[in-house]
Subunit: 215 residues, 2 copies
Amino acid sequence: MKLYSYWRSSCSWRVRIALELKGLSYEYVPVHLVKDGGEQNSESYRSLNPMRTVPMLELTEGGQVRRLSQSMAILEYLEERHASPALLPADPYLRARCRMLSEMVNSGIQPLQNLAVLQRIKGELKGDDKAWCAYWIDRGLTAFQASVQETAGTYCLGDAVSFADICLVPQLYGARRFGVDLAPYGLLTRIEAACASLPAFQAAHPDRQPDAQPA
Amino acid sequence: MKLYSYWRSSCSWRVRIALELKGLSYEYVPVHLVKDGGEQNSESYRSLNPMRTVPMLELTEGGQVRRLSQSMAILEYLEERHASPALLPADPYLRARCRMLSEMVNSGIQPLQNLAVLQRIKGELKGDDKAWCAYWIDRGLTAFQASVQETAGTYCLGDAVSFADICLVPQLYGARRFGVDLAPYGLLTRIEAACASLPAFQAAHPDRQPDAQPA
């Protein structure tokens, strides 16, 4: 498998964590989202992924090269193909809560802080892109924390790592980047610390990627 | 089951379609997203759904009232609990393509056109909310159409209705509302027309909901 990724892309990071947790090896293909207007906007990348996003997973199935984008779709695919360790609970209601928490980040926060959106907020609308992000992150994390209380143990859903943790950890990193005060989110930062002690989360961290740039 | 919904919410509409396709009856609880600053922002609704969004599905499991928000999580839950008719293909790669297409709408377009975002674009940033929406919808539909070509039959994935159609149809309705020219999207409007002939899509249409408002 090849993973098209950018070190600081939170959605790429999600997939890296899942690949590490499931012990799947892959080739890392860096896509520089910023340099020269963004490699994702190049003719050649668009022909592979018309949405111009990372991550994209490339795999061979039945002798054919297949490509998947959208991190949640990739996570579900990995879960179906490589069941162990499970990253969704077994109980249907808890599975739904896990996906709900994941989507609070995936559709509720991240799309509003992604690079293409920030470029438009700043460029077209002359807005403060950092304040814009901070607003949506704060709003989303408040809801996430209120919701996760129902199921939290060591991780978001009891004592097993799941999609929800995989979405939460990169989002908290983004929150710090955009200057959000995380003091009100004690439960979330406690879960984050538990995840940070796991080798899979460490290996998937932006700073450990081949295309990482010095601070 | 109770569905907290707003007639014109595209995410509520997705869940209504799935409930209809699976033949599940439910009580409709209207949440007026606009009146008096939005009922979703009330103390009482926030205590049920901290994210302040519709749809929210309320159900009883093992004697307990359970609540789920986030349309994709709800769709997956309905699929797991009520398998027939299947709204995801059987093949793992096609399931992933189906979820990928769905997420291109769910996280790639809809979050940028939702009411809370438009209010901020217009209110704080004094931007043109309609032009903002049209830009993201156009960009997303272009990618969706390029991607769906791989699998399209009568519907997005061959000849069976799936999550991808459920996400596409309300998004096209939104595109028209925001003035997007759909002429370049012949494949998508052909799929939309096929869906529109199905009773489940008809019953779930905004105009058929109890809280629908005259044009």
